[in-house]
């Protein structure tokens, strides 16, 4: 009986306990890490935000999106435009524009001069683009591989557009060389720590949002649409709107990740968001387990850490490893680390520790 109450306690307070542990870890990191490592961790967290969204759209919703770079890029460019305008002050244009003889920033730049609009824009712009695209595509029943291919084509077209419109987007070089972030000096270590905290708490918030979605009724709807899209119509739902919702949330997460990427890394360019980087944003989700809550986050942190450690010393070997991860994990362990979720209860059962059979079954169901 005692086990049951312990279980009940665990189920009831799991998110709270998890959040407390996460917050403790977030505050612990600056104490034990250098400013440089903290910057790297912030960067990983930006990618993790994208991954958490992918987990929702792909793992829960079955929408394999190969084009999250688009939304990452939209968020990033909105933020970069705002920061650039803030750096250069009113009635000035960035250096690359003056080289083309442009004397006034274009309208879509001017829009994001206002910090409030910029902050809203980093989530709203990707969200709206995703919603419009989703309505067009999901509304007509396009899904699966077709959707994956379209999302990939869209991000490819976006990258080409950014390069092609170099007069207003900075072209291949992208936007870089930022000095301040909403009035705070980017070179100051204290401000870097602040940016890290923002990234960390945004990530935590996204995990909690996904946790909440998964627990609520709409979480079941999303799974229903993934596994039985047409059946859902005959249960009275419009699958397209459910998919648009999940896809837009994922896009907003990616946009916010992209927006934080700019102050953290200091540059955004088409090479950060084109076809291959977009698919690589899936790597962490693949490793961590697409259907799990924390898998995308953990997987992304692992793979981005490994990337930093290996890619510079052994660039060739790293690419092979990256390729092999996709090949081996997807082919043989499709659920990633999530596949090992059942191992611990299994060991416990074999060893006869912990809860007894039927009670455990109850706990699993709960």
């Amino acid at each position: 009986m005692k086990h049951l109450t312990a279980n009940e306690f665990a189920t009831k307070y799991k998110p709270l306990v998890g959040a407390v542990i996460a917050i403790a870890l977030i505050f612990l990191a600056p104490a034990v890490m250098s400013v440089y490592s903290l910057g790297l961790l912030s960067k990983y967290l930006c990618y993790a935000m994208v991954a958490i969204g992918i987990g929702l759209a792909w793992g829960q919703g079955g929408m394999l999106t190969l084009g999250q770079g688009l939304f990452f890029g939209l968020g990033a460019y909105v933020m970069a435009i705002h920061m650039k305008l803030e750096d250069i002050g009113p009635n000035q244009v960035p250096d690359f524009m003056s080289q083309y003889g442009i004397t006034q920033v274009p309208g879509f730049w001017e829009l994001f001069r206002n910090p409030v609009i910029a902050v809203i824009g980093v989530a709203a712009v990707p969200g709206i683009v995703a919603a419009v695209l989703g309505l067009a595509v999901f509304g007509r029943g396009v899904r699966g591989a077709y959707f994956a291919i379209l999302s990939q084509a869209l991000v490819a077209a976006f990258a080409v557009l950014l390069i092609g419109q170099s007069k207003t987007t900075g072209g291949t070089n992208g936007l870089n060389d930022f000095k301040g972030f909403f009035g705070y000096d980017l070179t100051d270590p204290a401000n870097k720590r602040m940016i890290y905290y923002i990234c960390a708490f945004l990530t935590l918030a996204m995990v909690l949002i996904v946790y909440w979605i998964r627990r609520s009724f709409i979480g079941n709807l999303i799974i229903g649409v993934r596994d039985q899209e047409n059946r859902m119509k005959f249960l009275g739902y419009n699958p397209a709107s459910i998919k648009v919702f999940a896809f837009s949330v994922a896009a907003m997460f990616a946009g916010i990740g992209g927006a934080m990427f700019v102050p953290v890394v200091g540059i955004i360019s088409p090479s950060d968001i084109s076809v291959t980087p977009s698919i690589l944003m899936l790597a962490g989700v693949v490793i961590g387990g697409r259907t799990t809550l924390l898998g995308p986050l953990v997987g992304t942190l692992i793979i981005r850490f490994a990337e930093t450690q290996l890619s510079e010393a052994y660039p060739s070997a790293w690419t092979y490893l990256e390729g092999l991860i996709f090949i081996l994990v997807i082919a043989f362990v499709p659920m990633g680390l999530g596949q090992f979720k059942g191992v611990w209860p299994w060991i416990k059962e074999k060893l006869g520790i912990g809860v007894s059979g039927p009670v455990k079954a109850e706990a699993v169901k709960a």
Binding site: R140, V142, A145, N230, V275, S316, G323
Partner: protein, 294 residues
């Protein structure tokens, strides 16, 4: 007329390039449901084959002829290997093959970079194909004309194989009803392998042909793959006819839009055309079978 004619020619040429790149994909995607992200790298393998033969064989025309055959075999064998080792066990998870083959494409690209270096190389084309030819007072690139003809030949050959040979019948039977084909004595496993070999082999031919126009580097395939996918999506599953029409329509549209605007706008426009097209004709792509709602 004066402006229109060269533009149409450019469009047809673009279309034939798209068609060559998409033909093999259309076969493997349509017949087997496999989305092969490494298709571009099979094209790259074909292109590097052309480069290798051109360094070995002095006569450029002979070298090209040899490369077309060897490129077909090399890319085909790569595809066969991929199918036997990986894709065979993933028949019921088509979406996952997209990611697995992406991993394969990463590996193949790095392999090419390690073997041939990061700097682009060139396979020298026969002189006959580098000189322009003049028809009705307009001059065309002979290389592009060659690619146009080659793409038509490939389509015709593939069509003939699918429609006229026993192998083609088996391929079609397998794609239409796998279980029925199996009980009718067709080894669907073997048919799948052959189909994949054929589709990948066509990528090799495409790579050899396109090396006439482009420099060859490890990211040779990435230039074509995204648009090739779009052709397959717009053309519909398993429809050679669809792929042919989609290639030329998109090729013509691209050259028509590119001319007054820019290449980047052209590419964006292609994407939008396909999405808009899907609004009107998703039927080719979506089929609900009411009895089991699969």
């Amino acid at each position: 007329m004066g402006m229109l004619f060269p533009q149409i020619v450019a469009g047809l040429s673009n279309g034939s390039i798209l068609l060559l790149a998409a033909l093999g994909l259309s076969l493997t995607f349509g017949q087997m449901g496999v989305i092969n992200n490494a298709h571009g790298e099979f094209m790259m393998a074909g292109a590097y084959t052309a480069y290798v033969t051109s360094t070995i064989i002095g006569n450029k025309a002979v070298s090209l002829g040899v490369a077309l055959v060897v490129g077909f075999v090399v890319a085909g064998l790569l595809g066969l290997l991929l199918d036997v080792l990986l894709l065979e066990r993933m028949r019921n998870r088509p979406l996952d093959t997209l990611l697995v083959t992406f991993g394969v494409s990463l590996v193949l690209q790095q392999l090419a970079r390690d073997i041939f270096g990061a700097t682009p190389v060139y396979a020298e084309a026969p002189d006959a194909l580098t000189n322009p030819v003049t028809v009705f007072g307009y001059s065309f690139s002979a290389g592009r004309l060659f690619i146009f003809i080659l793409s038509i030949v490939c389509v015709a050959a593939l069509y003939a194989v699918l429609k006229l040979t026993p192998l083609g019948r088996q391929i079609r039977a397998t794609s239409e009803n796998r279980d029925l084909a199996e009980v009718s004595g067709i080894s669907t496993k073997t048919v799948d392998h052959i189909t994949f070999f054929l589709g990948s082999g066509i990528a090799g031919i495409a790579g050899v042909a396109l090396s006439l126009l482009n420099s060859i580097s490890f990211n040779f395939g990435t230039t074509f793959i995204v648009q090739a996918f779009l052709v397959v999506v717009a053309g519909g599953v398993g429809q050679l006819k669809g792929a042919v029409i989609a290639s030329f329509v998109l090729g013509l549209a691209q050259s028509a839009i590119e001319l007054p605007t820019s290449a980047s706008i052209g590419q964006m426009a292609i994407f939008l055309i396909v999405v808009v097209f899907l609004q009107f004709r998703p039927q080719g792509l979506v089929s609900i079978r009411s009895r089991n709602l699969a």
